[in-house]
Symmetry: C2
Subunit: 333 residues, 2 copies
DNA sequence: TTGTACGCGTTATCAA
DNA sequence: TTGATAACGCGTACAA
């Protein structure tokens, strides 16, 4: 490293004390205009850069937040990371990000790392973090750090969940399909996270409510491989040829499904209607364009961060918030 | 905050000195087995957590890396962030991430922030960071911190560029199309980043080399709106009906293009062949599945990080590395 | 308005 | 093998 100059170095050059330099840097009011100018000049000349470690130590505050996400690559929460970082940044916080994977022990480990880094707030992206191992880690390692969980809920005095009503969203999707005369609707989901379980519940609710005599048909795909999504779609059609609509737990899975249907020569939506979830940017450009349930990632992300900021300001915040979903209709239904 | 206990607290409880505690924590060899055990026990009981700010200050090392990305949402570099974080994590580094936007002044600002955070390495994701403003910021704020730029190049003694041969990749795509008898190939690109400029160059090279008498036809789309991608595709076909192949600068744009062609009733690849770039996970599930140039994001990301780690170890590393691209053929050609 | 002196929690040097 | 003690760079009462 080049010998990063310290406030002492520039104090010396400016002929003042270190504390004065500190005051200038931190915009303290009572400092002589000229001395301030001088100090500022010396700082500029010396390309001095503040040491945040020292500052954090002295201040007892890092102005850092932590973001945990299972896998930046594949989840639609990736976009959420952007919103979260952006909102934190706007409020003077830097963000540490970690890909934790889906193993809860690993996730807990990262909670500890974050507490070691003394982050002042944490956002958990996705319902995969909704498990007791994580909950305990929070309780033990950061009982006083506000934690938000996007699209999930976790019990704890310092934990704030923001969810969208995915259950209701899927229910409405069933209604939409039923209104269009579909009777044999299936639900195809990848790994059953708590969030996906909610969707399944909404699916069953919807069937009972809107489709008389509709048999439930829920398929879970364990793996995360595209080929398995396609294969599951194919098999569904083969084993249950009367299927006239499929709701998928995610747009990505739905688009894989569209692809499989396309290759089977099945026309969408004439023969089979398809609904996705997330209203991702790919939904509008798939062939055909995909009807999708918008689970409001932008809003939930933003609210999560804002809640945390409120808590940090000492405000009271609801531990559980939920916002409604919209269904965006396109050509696939 | 709960009063985070310090090494002094646990030193007292264990009846030893703080230095001994420190030694235990850091796995120093010469410490009595029993004292170590005792200290460890007390630590476990007191849910003590190390303070990284203090540690960094004393050690003069943060074990943090910085990742800068223009926009996590829309670029395919998002996946790269995952690889980069993962590789750093594996080597004991934590990652600070910032969404900088595409404005170079803003980008430079984040370079400064990172230097303030005393990160020990930086990865710039994408050729959007290939500009003099950023270069200067690096020179001034972090002349001794190794910086890697993915998919781009920047001059500087501490800067390491890792690119894939996108120019050659596009050239090969032109050849592929020419071999299939296509004569009126167009190139459709979004914002002309240095990376996209390379692709355009490769396109022109390819035309000269493989398509006798082929007129160049390059369309740049300034905005990032899907509707504009579709519109541009439509207009291209209208103004140049003889077009029998289109290469797009990104899969996402290509898929939007596929959608537009689909809606125009143009058959792919019968009437128009389509090639994308990035070989993203959506390429294989689009309708039809998209032939795409794989620009090896995984490899470039990994190499970028490994280069940085090598430099940190004091090894010499090439300032400029390039790896070959593959073209993955699917149904759209 | 400015400077002195101390503390923040660790690590590192030196003696013991 | 252990314990004082002095850094690390900065913020901040307190005194001047």
């Amino acid at each position: 490293m080049a010998q990063d100059s310290t406030i002492y170095d520039i104090a010396e050059k400016a002929g003042v004390s270190a504390s004065t330099v500190s005051r200038v840097i931190n915009n303290y009011p009572y400092v002589n205009k000229e001395t301030r100018a001088k100090v500022l000049r010396v700082i500029a000349e010396s390309n001095y850069i503040q040491n945040d470690s020292a500052r954090s130590l002295a201040t007892q505050s890092t102005k850092m937040a932590g973001i945990l996400i299972a896998d930046v690559r594949t989840t639609h929460h990736t976009e959420g990371v952007y919103y979260v970082e952006h909102e934190f940044s706007k409020n003077g916080y830097s963000c540490l990000i970690y890909n934790t994977g889906t193993d809860s022990e690993q996730q807990a480990k990262y909670i500890q790392i974050l507490s070691q880094k003394k982050v002042e707030a944490v956002v958990l992206m996705g319902s995969v973090f909704q498990n007791v191992t994580v909950q305990n880690a929070i309780m033990i390692c950061m009982p006083d750090t506000p934690v938000a969980i996007c699209n999930g809920y976790l019990d704890g005095p310092n934990i704030y969940g923001v969810t969208s009503d995915e259950r209701g969203g899927v229910m409405n999707a069933v209604k939409l399909l039923a209104d269009k005369g579909r009777r044999n609707i299936a639900f195809l989901t990848n790994k059953l996270t708590p969030s996906n379980q909610n969707k399944v519940d909404g699916f069953n609710d919807g069937l009972k409510l809107y489709v008389k005599g509709g048999k439930e048909e829920v398929v879970e795909i364990q793996s995360g491989e595209v080929s398995d999504y396609e294969e599951a779609t194919r098999r569904l059609i083969q084993t249950r040829p009367e299927t006239d609509a499929i709701i998928f737990s995610e747009d990505y899975v739905a688009i894989a499904g569209l692809h499989a249907l396309y290759e089977m020569g099945i026309s969408v939506p004439d023969q089979v209607a398809v609904v996705g979830m997330n209203n991702s940017r790919y939904a509008q450009i798939s062939n055909p364009a995909l009807t999708s349930i918008d689970n409001m990632l932008y809003d939930t992300s933003l609210i999560a961060v804002r809640n945390l900021l409120e808590v940090l300001k000492g405000e009271r915040v609801n531990h559980r918030m939920s916002i409604g979903t919209n269904i965006v209709e396109r050509s696939s239904t």
